[in-house]
C-alpha cells in the first residue's frame, strides 16, 4: 500500500468508525439536547469521512470511491485506532471516548493545516472547526459528569479505566508516519503528546477523575494488524446492503 493512501485511511477510518458508533445513539440519549448533539457529532464525522476517504480513493487510483472503501473493505483493511471501535456501552463511556479523541484531534488537525499536501491541509482546516466545537462540548460534559454525583463519578472513572489503555495507540510510530514526516505531510504523532496530555490531565483533574499509572497501550488498529472482535460486527451491520446487493445504487 502507498504510504499516503495508508495515512489517509487512518484519518478516514477514525472518522467513519467513531461516526458510526455515535450514530448508534439515535433517539435514545439521556436528553433531547444530547440526542441532537450526538447526531450532530456523528454528522460531522461522516462528513469528514467522505473527504478523507474520497481523497484516499483518488490517491489509490484504482477506480474505487469513498463508498467502496467504507462499504467493501473487511476488518483487516481498516486503519482506525482500536479505541473508536469499542462498543458505546453507556453515555459515560461514549462521552469519555469522544473527549479523549477530540483532545488528540484538535492539535493533530491544527498541525495538518500546515501540511505540504494542500488537499490534506484543506480537509484539516474544515475538520478542525468541527473538532474544536466537539472538544469544547465533550470536555464540558466529562467535567460535569465527573463532578456531578458519586454515582456519576464512579461511572466516569470506570469509563476512563476501560479506555485509557487504548489512548496510547494514537502516538505509535511506523514507516507510514516516518514517510509522512519526511515529506512534511504530517508531524510525528508523538510530537503532539505533550499538548494532548496537558488537555487531558487538566480536564480530568477538573472532573475529579484519576488516570491509572499503567502506561500499557493496546495496538493493532492503525496498522490493521489486529482489530478487536467488535469491528467485524460493526461492519456486518454497516455494510449489509452493499454486500447483499452488489452493484446496486441507492
Amino acid at each position: 500500500m502507498k504510504p499516503l493512501f495508508e495515512f489517509l485511511l487512518r484519518q478516514g477510518d477514525n472518522a467513519l468508525v467513531l461516526g458510526h458508533r455515535t450514530s448508534e445513539w439515535c433517539g435514545t440519549a439521556p436528553a433531547l439536547e444530547e440526542d441532537i448533539a450526538l447526531a450532530n457529532t456523528a454528522l460531522d464525522l461522516i462528513g469528514q469521512t467522505q473527504l478523507w476517504l474520497g481523497y484516499a480513493a483518488e490517491v489509490e487510483g484504482a477506480g474505487r470511491s469513498a463508498d467502496d472503501l467504507a462499504y467493501l473493505r473487511d476488518v483487516y483493511d481498516f486503519r482506525n485506532i482500536l479505541m473508536l471501535e469499542v462498543p458505546n456501552e453507556d453515555f459515560g463511556r461514549t462521552v469519555m471516548r469522544q473527549f479523549l479523541f477530540d483532545a488528540f484531534q484538535v492539535p493533530w488537525l491544527t498541525a495538518l493545516c500546515e501540511s505540504a499536501d494542500e488537499h490534506i491541509a484543506a480537509i484539516a482546516a474544515k475538520s478542525l472547526k468541527e473538532a474544536l466545537y466537539h472538544l469544547e462540548r465533550s470536555a464540558e460534559t466529562v467535567v460535569a459528569l465527573g463532578d456531578g454525583t458519586d454515582d456519576s463519578n464512579k461511572r466516569m472513572q470506570s469509563a476512563l479505566d476501560v479506555l485509557w489503555p487504548y489512548t496510547g495507540e494514537h502516538f505509535l510510530q511506523d514507516d507510514v508516519d516516518n514517510t509522512m514526516f519526511k515529506a512534511k505531510i504530517a508531524p510525528l504523532p508523538v510530537s503532539l503528546k505533550p499538548e494532548w496530555e496537558s488537555t487531558v490531565r487538566s480536564t480530568l483533574n477538573d472532573a475529579n477523575l484519576k488516570i491509572t499509572d499503567s502506561t500499557f497501550a493496546h495496538s493493532g488498529g492503525r496498522t490493521g494488524f489486529r482489530h478487536t472482535e467488535h469491528l467485524g460486527h460493526m461492519l456486518a451491520t454497516m455494510q449489509v446492503l452493499q454486500r447483499s446487493y452488489p452493484g446496486a445504487t441507492w
Binding site: 439521556p30 436528553a31 454528522l43 461522516i46 459528569l145 454497516m238 446492503l241 445504487t249
Partner: protein
C-alpha cells in the same frame, strides 16, 4: 396525523351569546385571526386541549426518530447515512420546539415525558409500524412526512402563537424530508434493480393504509373536532386532509411505476378527485390502544432511554448546583 383524535371539551360548541364576556372576547379575537400569546387570557379547556395536541405532536416527533434510527447504522452509502442522520436530528429539533411551545402553557417537558411513558399521552399510530428494508426509509419520507405536511401547513395559521411559529420552522424541514424520501424511492423503484423495485413496492404496500390512518377516522360528526376548529387549533377535517393527500400521492406513485394497494382507487370525474378505500379502522383502534406491531418496542425504547439517562441528568443538575455554590462562595 401526528396529533390524532385529540379530545376537546366533548360538548357542542358554545355560541358567542352563551359565552362569558371573557370567553366571548377570546373567541372574537380568534375569529378575527389574532394570535393568542402565552400571557393572554384563554379558557381552561383551550389550554388543556392544546397541551394534549402539542404534546402528542411533540411525542410523535421523538418516537418518530426510532423507526428511521433503525436504519441509520445500515444506510447504504455515506451520503444516505448523513442525510438520514440529519433528518432524524431535525425530528429531535421539532420535538424540542414543540415541547417548548407546550411549556408556555404551563406543563414541563419532564411532566410530558412521564405522561408518555405511563401511556397517558399518545403519539401518532404510524410510528408503531416496523421499518423492514431500506425502501422503508423512502416510503416513510415520501408518505409519512408527506402526510405530516398536509396537516402542518395549515397549522402555521393556528390561533396559538407559539404553536404557529413552531410550525413555520418545522414545515420548511418537512418538505425537505419528503423530497429526500421520494428521491430514495426514485433510485429504487424507477432506476433500481429488480430486488430494489420489489422492496419499493413492498414498502408502499405496508405503508399506504397506515399513512391514510395518520389523518384519523372521519371526524365530520365529532364534537371534539368542531370545538378544535372553532378555536382554530385544527384547521381542516380529517377527510379533507386525507383526500388532499391521496390526490397528491397517486400521481407520484404512478411516476415511480408503483401500484397503490387499492383496487377501488380511481379518478372520479364528477368530484374531480380520487375515490379510494378506507383503511381498516379496527386495525387503527388496535394500534392506538397499544396493540400495533411495534408499540411495545417503541415505548420500551423511550422508557429505557429515559431510565438509562437518569444518572446523566441528575449529574448535570448536581454539577450545575455545585458550580453555582462555588461561584457564590467566591463572590
Amino acid at each position: 396525523m401526528y396529533a390524532q383524535q385529540v379530545k376537546s371539551t366533548g360538548k357542542k360548541v358554545v355560541s358567542l351569546e352563551e359565552m362569558s364576556p371573557a370567553d366571548r372576547d377570546f373567541q372574537e379575537r380568534i375569529n378575527r385571526g389574532e394570535k393568542i400569546e402565552p400571557k393572554d387570557y384563554m379558557p381552561a379547556a383551550y389550554r388543556t386541549n392544546l397541551i394534549r395536541q402539542i404534546g402528542q405532536h411533540a411525542h410523535s416527533e421523538i418516537v418518530g426518530q426510532l423507526p428511521e434510527g433503525n436504519w441509520i447504522t445500515r444506510a447504504p452509502t455515506l451520503e444516505r447515512k448523513a442525510n438520514l442522520l440529519a433528518k432524524v436530528q431535525d425530528e429531535a429539533g421539532h420535538g424540542l420546539y414543540l415541547y417548548c411551545a407546550a411549556e408556555t402553557l404551563g406543563v414541563t417537558r419532564d411532566e410530558m415525558f412521564e405522561m408518555l411513558h405511563e401511556g397517558k399521552m399518545k403519539y401518532s399510530s404510524i410510528f408503531n409500524y416496523p421499518t423492514l428494508t431500506w425502501a422503508d426509509m423512502g416510503a416513510v419520507g415520501w408518505l409519512v412526512d408527506g402526510a405530516a405536511i398536509m396537516n402542518q401547513v395549515p397549522l402555521q395559521r393556528t390561533s396559538y402563537g407559539p404553536y404557529a411559529r413552531a410550525m413555520v420552522r418545522i414545515c420548511k424541514e418537512e418538505s425537505f424530508h419528503q423530497r429526500q424520501g421520494y428521491h430514495i424511492m426514485i433510485k429504487m423503484a424507477k432506476e433500481g434493480t429488480e430486488d430494489q423495485k420489489r422492496m419499493a413496492q413492498d414498502a408502499l404496500n405496508r405503508f399506504w393504509y397506515p399513512a391514510l390512518m395518520m389523518f384519523g377516522p372521519s371526524d365530520n360528526d365529532s364534537v371534539h373536532s368542531a370545538q378544535s376548529m372553532a378555536w382554530k387549533i385544527k384547521m381542516n377535517t380529517n377527510d379533507e386532509l386525507r383526500q388532499k393527500f391521496v390526490d397528491e400521492t397517486v400521481p407520484q406513485a404512478a411516476y415511480l411505476g408503483l401500484t397503490i394497494p387499492d383496487e377501488n382507487l380511481q379518478w372520479n370525474a364528477e368530484t374531480e378527485q380520487y375515490d379510494y378505500s378506507e383503511p381498516d379502522w379496527n386495525e387503527f383502534h388496535d394500534v392506538i390502544s397499544g396493540n400495533g406491531p411495534c408499540n411495545t418496542e417503541r415505548l420500551g425504547a423511550r422508557r429505557k432511554a429515559w431510565d438509562d439517562g437518569a444518572w446523566v441528568r441528575e449529574a448535570m443538575m448536581a454539577h450545575a448546583e455545585k458550580k453555582a455554590q462555588r461561584k457564590a462562595a467566591l463572590g
